[in-house]
Subunit: 415 residues, 2 copies
């Protein structure tokens, strides 16, 4: 780690952290942060952050998908832009740095640029949906900007039965015009996202920042096991077809198989036995499976091995199994020329340059369909994310802002 600073954090970091506190209060719950796509809190967040964008000299609008966009022109109006940003939505009971830190720091950096025009425009985007909590489909905001938003998504329903189409209309958007949020390739030079690592690697390496090489590809599955429910006291162990016991074996198989390949991870985050009574053998168990790796071939190999093993477990236990893939995203490589410029900014601030993959998904995965992407990661405490305990230090916030600022000031469009 760099030598500890004995100075108070610079004003920029203080302002960023103060604004994060204010933004975190824009939540559907009083005692924690939950802010989902097209909700009243989404509109409030756009208004609050839009005000800060205007203070920083950006021209602000909300695009056809509900994304907040602030633009600073370059030496002349209409130049292609360097696009910075991240997302303004959250998971349920979220941490306050995931997404928001990148947007608010970018605003701070633009404010600090001063009046001297740059040879390119800058846009700061606060995407309306990255987490996918509301409609179970992720990166809706960045997909719209990248031009890969499938209009069929408008028919997805939230838990209350509201379609995305209805939610957009209620938000004041025209769902039939969502395609107009897409940007033209020639108008965007690059997309660079600054984000907390959400993992433990930078902390373990004693570094405040790192440059991302690639974002893990991922597959998600919904797996349903059907056995036979029965009274917990009357069915001998040898005659049982316990769906939960079968699912438990699958959970352990996923863990074991992923551990066998470097950088691969597999997670069962949801598991629901039914009927779910103390004295009833579960007749059904439904669980989720999430598999990731920075190398697509590894990821597919791990997922296939887990699926095969789940089927073998079901056969051996005489239970039925239904395995449905619900989501697949290829890994996303960060552009070498952009990685080089991010690395140079890290080095210019006096840090060893660590290149690392991203285990989490990010808007950059959608934006790569439009333009070259790169990411700057900031250390977070204990690698915790998607949890209220998510934390960074003020000193690290200042470091991240300085590095992003240095990157912007030295930015050279691809030759």
């Amino acid at each position: 780690m760099s030598a500890p600073s004995l100075q108070p954090p610079p004003a920029a970091a203080t302002r960023i952290l103060d604004r994060i506190e204010a933004l975190a209060r824009v939540s559907e719950q009083p005692d924690g942060l939950t802010r989902i796509y097209l909700s009243p809190q989404h509109a409030q967040a756009n208004a609050l952050v839009g005000g800060w964008m205007r203070e920083a000299g950006l021209a602000v609008h909300v695009d056809a998908a509900g994304n907040l966009v602030g633009r600073r022109e370059g030496e002349r109006p209409g130049l292609p832009c360097l696009m910075l940003g991240s997302h303004l939505d959250s998971v349920r009971n979220a941490g306050r740095y995931d997404g928001m830190l990148g947007v608010l720091t970018a605003i701070e950096c633009v404010a600090a640029l001063g009046p001297r025009p740059l040879p390119f425009a800058i846009e700061v985007v606060g995407f309306g949906d990255e987490e996918g909590v509301r409609f179970q489909a992720t990166m809706l905001g960045s997909r719209a900007v990248a031009g890969t938003f499938d209009p069929a998504l408008l028919d997805l329903r939230d838990a209350g039965g509201t379609t995305m189409r209805e939610a957009m209309a209620a938000f004041g958007l025209d769902p039939s015009a969502v395609g107009s949020a897409a940007r033209r390739r020639e108008d965007v030079l690059a997309y660079v996202e600054y984000h907390i690592e959400q993992g433990p690697v930078l902390e373990a390496e004693g570094l405040p920042v790192g440059v991302v090489t690639a974002i893990n590809g991922q597959q998600r599955f919904r797996i349903q096991v059907d056995g036979m429910a029965g009274h917990s006291g009357t069915v001998p162990m040898r005659l049982r077809q316990d769906a939960l016991a079968a699912a438990a074996e699958c959970v352990l198989a996923a863990e074991r198989i992923a551990a066998g390949l470097p950088d691969a991870v597999a997670t069962v985050g949801q598991l629901a036995p039914s009927p779910g009574a103390t004295n009833v053998i579960p007749g059904r168990a439904v669980f989720s499976l999430d598999v990731r790796s920075p190398r697509d071939a590894d990821r597919m190999r791990v997922a296939a091995a887990i699926v095969d093993e789940c089927r073998a477990i079901a056969t051996r236990r005489r239970v039925a199994i239904d395995i449905a893939q619900t989501h697949e995203l290829s890994s996303c490589a960060c552009a070498a020329w952009l990685q080089d410029q991010v690395a140079a900014a890290i080095a210019a601030d006096g840090h060893r340059v660590l290149a690392l993959p991203s285990g989490a998904g990010h808007d950059a995965m959608a934006m790569v369909a439009l333009t070259d992407v790169a990411m700057l990661f900031l250390r977070c405490r204990d690698g915790i994310s998607h949890h209220p305990a998510e934390a960074i230090t003020a000193e690290d916030a200042a470091t991240g802002a300085r590095v992003l600022q240095a990157f912007i000031e030295r930015f050279e469009p691809r030759a």
Copy 2:
């Protein structure tokens, strides 16, 4: 199995099954059977079954705990009674024979006795609570009759926050008088319960009925595992403290350990990981454990071994574990003299006599504190119970009624 009857089922069986259909419609849900203690449906069931009791010549009252009691005097008023019955409450989304069959068949048998007085009184009881769904404490009705109802139970709350005391008052009962439901030992000769087996043994043996030797003792636990939540993409497998993976190992340990001892069973019926999102490593998992055996020493040995193994799993995986026993009931032996009379009635109807333990708990377990108990089991399809698919044949219903009738007619109080 006995030779299949080509005759239509006798009128008694038809009436029993018709009444079961009518009673199953007294439910808090339109598309299935759920009837819990002290609910409006409990009052409706008491009114409906009470009417059938009166038709059968019984004098009917609802006791201080909400149990429905019908009495037929013997040769003179006030003689000690042979008590028959079972429970009128159900689990959620229940089968329709569990409990109800025993009450309705006993009524039918009493109706068939004709005017000739017996040298003992008969009472038919429909207990208000056996399943314990509402207050998570079982056999409240039979405990009240047996005189073992602890008034501290009145402070238990249901899922909506209502205390049992409040629920009793709303039902029209005086909670301070619940003790008056207790019967005197000298007024009860025996308690005999007719019930579906809720297991697969009679079906496997090809027999319609069997006599119960003992009811399994049971222990229940609530087990909570606390690990560390984290992002499913960013925490390497080797650094995880996945609470669900630890719980999954515990599920399999319970299954393996119980399978190692004859007649012992162990079940995890509930398991809830949290926060419960596809892309979050579970930081907590809470599960239930239910252990049973007809031999108390075996049951305690299995439970202790599972608990030890769960602790070892937690230690190895660096997660915290909290194991709380929530319920313990010793096994309950059926009285030899009563078993002999039930066996004689089975033999008199032309069946091989099979003696078997009961894996499920029954009101007889509470009633043994008051009087000697016995049970007659009826075959049910595929051993399924606590499930809408619970089923019996009309022929078996007729057989069960004949055997119970024969038992009553030949009943000799203990010498």
